[in-house]
């Protein structure tokens, strides 16, 4: 099976070969050994990797991976375009915007508390707040859509 991916913003093409996966990154072509441990852990180049929806964790890094191949749309739930999701499970400490607010890029939108640390979620770009799905004190799960921004 061949895939076209966008990995951390970079296009990569993959193809399964004996003992692993061939990855083409521009002019660079590399065959990466892939295997599974008895416990099911995926080993890539000898080190464990976790594959989650939309991202791969490898050596402590989370790398965004999306397909750019013309695949049929999945039936799975999708976040609305422009939704800002919780990067971590935590508790909502404060909501700093309301529906209809115009925000600038980098503006703090809400504050989560996790692991004894207040963490601010900021607007990745300018826009108008279409919806807010968070109230102070509420527990949220990682990936929960919290704020939706329109153009």
């Amino acid at each position: 099976m061949a895939l076209k991916l966008r990995v951390a913003g970079v296009e990569a093409a993959t193809r399964h070969v004996e003992g692993g996966v061939e990855v083409r990154l521009g002019d660079r072509v590399e065959v990466v050994a892939v295997s599974r441990r008895p416990d099911g852990t995926l080993l890539v180049g000898g080190r464990p990797a976790d594959v989650e929806p939309g991202e791969v964790s490898y050596c402590g890094e989370r790398i965004a991976v999306v397909e750019v191949l013309e695949r049929p749309a999945t039936a799975a739930p999708r976040l609305p375009a422009g939704a800002l999701s919780a990067p971590t499970p935590g508790t909502v400490a404060r909501v700093l915007v309301a529906v209809g607010d115009t925000v600038v890029s980098g503006q703090p939108l809400l504050v989560l508390v996790a692991m004894k640390t207040e963490f601010t979620l900021s607007a990745p770009r300018a826009g108008v707040v279409l919806s807010v799905n968070a109230v102070p004190g509420a527990s949220v799960r990682a990936g929960a859509p919290l704020v939706e921004l329109g153009p």
């Binding site: 099976m1 990995v7 964790s57 989370r62 965004a64 397909e67 375009a81 935590g90 692991m115 004894k116």
Partner: protein
């Protein structure tokens, strides 16, 4: 002695190891979320405190004392964080007839309270940056912006905020106050003029509680995010011997003045011209104590226990080589160091010559959301800084942590960064560097291979009968 360890995680494990080596029976305490934690498994006995939040567990002094009574413990080690810098807790421990492994409540109050410590330092002629206790926003503005807001009661970057614009001030005070209350049970704040760029250096001290003091070298701790350290080394790269001696001298002056007992750290800001000013004192053992242990050969926790029992200061050991530590935290450096609680699916410790690994969890354990993100510390000792950096890099390459994102990959990349190798890093350097850092080609290739391999296992989406929530096909929409 029978020692109750009033803490959790990495530092509880560290103290329990020292107790085991000295033949001292130990008692762990734990919250509901920590019932199966490593520190509980390592202690001789364990006592439950209550629900996970600090206020009902590790910050609940009465419950900790009740646990000590039930187990007939005779001494309390507070670790770092939680109640470790609370003179009122030290006082009730002593009033209950227990040995407090730390400085006297009076010495803690004199140096641990940032406002009092600054007054004492000024009186003794140490250089101090302009600052004041936060009453209301207007008084802070009088200092001139930018300022740094800090918790009066504790360290570790909790309750700390940098304010550059007047519009951010009120929010920063509220938010820092909440964080300080949650972390230390004391929401009082302090404001200081922000000096930048500055390096953060600190002197490890021991006091005998009778006016004797011993300095054990200077640590460099400028690699920070949110004001919290991620990598430390000793000695300080490029620091002239006479400046190191002056720092040690000032630190010992404070220790002698208040008849400080046990281990402590005196922190300073160091300017580009090697001029320094007193910052604060941490009246407890610190996360980064291990690198001082590596270069001095001392066991600082054992020294704390000895000094608490009235022992003499050790002779000053001859420091050898260079030691460096990387803090492995469950955080996502690619998302502004967002905390990432979760299950440690795999943990392979680094080992080999000159490497030490102190962790608070084992493979399969869960890092609760209620506590801080530290998984463990990788330390390396070698004859030179260059060799220590090479050794730490090798150790980080060897370590495997899966299940949560960590600071490991980012810190590994930092070790190859020219600014770090040249000792040109200051306290505000890491976050912009990390944000601008591209993902390496090797990482991109590996991630592509991993995704492709998982895709085969999952099968194509149109033929998959029921996509599971963890399948890569339930791909969530990403920010464009």
């Amino acid at each position: 002695m029978k020692l109750l360890v009033a803490n959790r995680g990495e530092i509880a494990v560290r103290v329990l190891r020292a107790a085991r080596e000295l033949g001292i029976p130990s008692v762990a305490v734990y919250s509901e979320d920590d019932r199966e934690s490593l520190h509980v498994r390592m202690a001789d006995e364990a006592e439950a405190l209550g629900p996970a939040p600090g206020s009902t567990s590790y910050l609940h002094g009465e419950r900790i004392l009740a646990a000590a009574r039930r187990t007939s413990a005779t001494a309390v080690h507070p670790g770092y964080g939680f109640l470790s810098e609370r003179p009122d807790f030290a006082a009730v421990v002593q009033a209950a007839g227990l040995l407090w492994v730390g400085p006297s409540p009076a010495a803690m109050a004199a140096l641990g309270d940032k406002a009092a410590a600054r007054r004492t330092a000024q009186r003794l002629g140490l250089a101090v940056t302009p600052g004041l206790e936060v009453a209301e926003a207007e008084s802070v503005l009088a200092l001139g912006l930018p300022v740094v807001i800090k918790a009066v009661a504790g360290g570790g970057g909790r309750g700390m905020r940098i304010v550059r614009h007047e519009s951010e001030l009120a929010d920063a005070i509220r938010s820092a106050g909440r964080e300080a209350t949650a972390a230390f049970g004391d929401g009082r704040l302090y404001a200081e003029r922000l000096i930048e760029p500055a390096r953060h250096v600190e002197v490890q001290v021991l006091g005998d509680g009778r006016g004797g003091a011993l300095a054990l070298g200077v640590r460099e701790c400028s690699v920070q995010r949110r004001g919290q350290k991620l990598l430390e080394e000793t000695p300080v790269p490029g620091l002239p011997t006479e400046v190191a001696a002056a720092l040690e001298h000032d630190a010992c002056t404070l220790v002698r003045e208040v008849a400080y007992g046990g281990a402590g750290t005196v922190e300073f800001l160091l300017g580009p011209d090697n001029r320094f000013s007193f910052l604060e004192v941490n009246t407890r053992i610190q996360v980064e104590h291990g690198i001082t242990e590596l270069v001095t050969g001392l066991d600082l926790v054992a020294e704390q226990l000895r000094l608490a029992a009235g022992g003499e200061l050790p002779l000053r050991p001859e420091a050898r080589g260079h030691a460096i530590e990387a803090r492995i935290c469950a955080e996502d450096p690619r998302r502004g160091f967002a905390p990432a609680p979760g299950r440690i699916l795999r943990l392979r410790a680094p080992a080999g010559p000159g490497v030490r690994f102190d962790a608070g969890v084992a493979e399969g354990d869960t890092l609760p959301e209620a506590y801080d993100s530290l998984i463990g510390k990788v330390m390396a000792l070698a004859p030179s800084r260059e060799a220590a950096i090479g050794r730490l890099g090798r150790a980080l390459d060897e370590m495997e942590v899966a299940g949560v994102p960590t600071t490991a990959g980012m810190l590994r990349a930092l070790l190859d960064e020219p600014a770090f190798l040249n000792g040109a890093v200051h306290t505000r350097w890491l976050e912009p560097w990390c944000a601008a850092r591209p993902t390496s080609e090797a990482t991109i290739v590996a991630a592509a291979a991993a995704y492709a391999a998982a895709a085969v296992a999952a099968g194509p989406p149109d033929r998959a009968a029921t996509p599971t929530p963890t399948s890569p096909w339930t791909t969530l929409g990403r920010w464009p």
